[in-house]
Symmetry: C2
Subunit: 118 residues, 2 copies
């Protein structure tokens, strides 16, 4: 299944997980398109001031991988600043939030997966 | 779990899936680090001449997402050229190969997931 970049439309997403402002998401693949418990493969753009609220993953996990810009993340009770090439893996039963920590757009890949291993 | 880019070491990987030459892989997370059936989150660099051989996914699926350079992919019986931002999703029971179709390094993200849904 090939998805060319130009075929993927950008969707405005206000108040992500209770966060501030409106992000934009390129939704490459949705849960029903995958044959395994992969549930999302999205590129998220967050202008300065946009945040994803702190939230817990229950029955899922997510990888954030920074593409452009600067991010301030909370990883459970730890806070860190990330840049391009840095990753945050939030396992089942763990929590995260992310905000733009710079003055230019923050762009990241978010990969979500369900069905926690026994 | 935070992985800074500088912490991820690049591993030379010869003859990927029976392909030609030696690729280089940044292995961000391995199967045992995930809490769901995610099995790999790797950035692969392929110099001109390097290929990943045509192979079938059985009990897994994989997303290739092009970061830099030009790729020629085979998606079952279809051939296509992909560039930055383009994606190839290879579902369970389907096959793919990829080669550098340009004159500069090809860089892509490869996300592998196991445990096919019933």
């Amino acid at each position: 299944v090939i998805k060319k970049a130009f075929e993927v439309k950008e969707v405005p997403t206000p108040n992500m997980r209770g966060g501030q402002g409106t992000g934009r998401q390129l939704q490459y693949f949705k849960a029903e398109e995958f044959s395994t418990p992969l549930a999302a493969f999205n590129v998220i753009t967050m202008d300065p001031g946009v945040t994803v609220g702190f939230h817990k993953h229950e029955g899922s996990e997510e990888v954030y991988w920074i593409l452009e810009g600067r991010a301030k993340v909370r990883d459970d009770d730890k806070v860190a600043e990330l840049g391009p090439g840095d990753a945050l893996l939030t396992l089942d039963q763990h929590s995260h939030s992310i905000e733009n920590a710079g003055t230019s757009p923050l762009k990241l890949l978010a990969v979500l997966s369900n069905q926690v291993k026994k």
